[in-house]
């Protein structure tokens, strides 16, 4: 590789690393506890709740909805969701169909008895960590900014692989010159840990960038793909709970139209996830690969007639698959532990990169030349 080529790639590597490095360090450090989000939440807030009739028949959705509305007189239903590991149905209500998040009320019900389930307490610490990791409390601009930092990191990975070549011309793979001066030792650590984590970090980085595009992706999906299902329903009033058809029958009809799918979430008319006149019922698949893939069905909330069912477009599927590939929560505890170790290795790569930059004295081509001469003499 010519000195001019090395100089160009080292400039690319320097700037695409230096600009995002503090943010990447923040992401890696907040990412460590987030890998074990579920385990930490369970440990901090042990769930001692038991169903009233374990294994008993489940109440239908209309009964649960009636209980939820009786519990919050004068409010309208907004969302209904279903716990995966226990027979619990969660109903979110609010004063109006378009109520903001601060006015929403979330309550959980035992699907075997209709009794209220006490809310899980705590989780505040992990929420703070998650917010910091997602958008640094800055909302969409913060999210997109972190996405841009991730995109720079991808360029840093590519330029790092290119620069690996001249440095390794005379060194066998994995050589760690621990007895040399600190700068050479840390260069070797940086190169070794960097090159073995390339594939993993590229996937976690790219999927992280895709996750930051969540809001625009969902908006595009809503406005383009779901528009024809909802055409003609843009105007018109939101039905009151008394005017609504049976939710249970609506969900059963949708389930017949989507065989092999699991019920995940219902959005009531007038909210962000539906139209003013439809129940939006969201299903997910039942294999590890398809459980991330959401299929929505729209049902006329007054008549109960199925308006249509639409598989996700490719870009929404990419977003869905990006979540597990970023979080590392899809292959049991051993995979989470490996995610943790690879994250720590990335922190060492970032830290040693900062150290190598702080202790730089000469140009990278000159350094490559000097190191090669040393290797030539000692070999």
């Amino acid at each position: 590789m010519k000195p001019a080529t090395i100089r160009l790639w080292s400039a690319i590597h320097k700037w695409t690393s230096l600009i995002p490095t503090l943010f990447l360090l923040m992401l890696c450090i907040t990412g460590l506890p987030l890998i074990f989000h579920d385990e930490i939440d369970d440990a901090l807030n042990p769930d001692e709740w038991q169903a009233a009739n374990p294994g008993g028949p489940l109440l239908d959705l209309d009964t649960i909805l009636d209980r939820a509305l009786a519990n919050r007189p004068g409010e309208v239903p907004l969302y209904m969701s279903f716990d995966i590991d226990r027979p619990v149905i969660n109903v979110t209500t609010g004063p109006t169909p378009d109520a903001p998040g601060t006015q929403m009320h979330f309550a959980s019900f035992d699907a075997t008895s209709g009794d209220l389930v006490p809310p899980k307490s705590g989780g505040a610490f992990m929420e703070v960590i998650l917010q910091l990791h997602t958008d640094m409390f800055l909302g969409l601009p913060g999210m997109l900014f972190l996405g841009a930092m991730g995109a720079l990191m991808i360029v840093a990975i590519i330029s790092g692989v290119v620069l690996y070549t001249p440095f390794m011309r005379k060194l066998g793979f994995g050589t760690v010159r621990a007895s040399r001066k600190p700068r050479i030792k840390w260069l070797d650590y940086h190169n070794l840990l960097g090159i073995v984590t390339v594939a993993w970090l590229t996937v976690v980085g790219l999927t992280g960038v895709i996750n930051t595009l969540e809001a625009p992706i969902i908006d595009t999906w809503k406005y383009n793909e779901l528009a024809d299902l909802t055409a003609g329903y843009e105007e018109g009033t939101v039905p009151t709970p008394a005017e609504m058809a049976s939710l249970d029958a609506a969900v059963r009809d949708a389930q017949d139209a989507a065989p092999g799918m699991q019920l995940q979430f219902v959005a009531f008319p007038g909210g962000d996830f539906s139209t003013s006149q439809h129940f939006a019922v969201f299903f997910h698949g039942d294999t590890p690969l398809t459980e991330q893939i959401i299929t929505p069905a729209l049902i006329d909330a007054r008549t109960g007639a199925l308006a249509g069912i639409r598989p996700m477009p490719w870009y929404a599927k990419a977003l869905s698959l990006s979540r597990p590939l970023h979080f590392g929560d899809y292959g049991g505890l051993p995979l989470k532990i490996l995610w943790f170790v690879l994250d720590v290795m990335t922190i060492i790569v970032l830290g040693s990169g900062i150290y190598l930059w702080l202790t730089r004295r000469k140009s990278v081509p000159a350094e490559v030349k000097e190191l090669r001469e040393i290797e030539g003499k000692t070999a």
Binding site: K170, F173, L335
Partner: protein, 59 residues
Amino acid sequence: MRKRLSLRAIFAIPLFIAVTSLIGLVTALVGNDLWDALSWLTLGLPVAITIWALMKRRV
């Protein structure tokens, strides 16, 4: 003077680790149990190789 290594010699092991890691990232998505175990083996490789290098490749 030590011989210059070819590109192939420099990248043989890194490329193997990268391809294996990618296979592991996908297998855990495809299924559970055996597929998960395969992902632990394949994604454990970069960690195992690092430990090996830090112990056996120190000079």
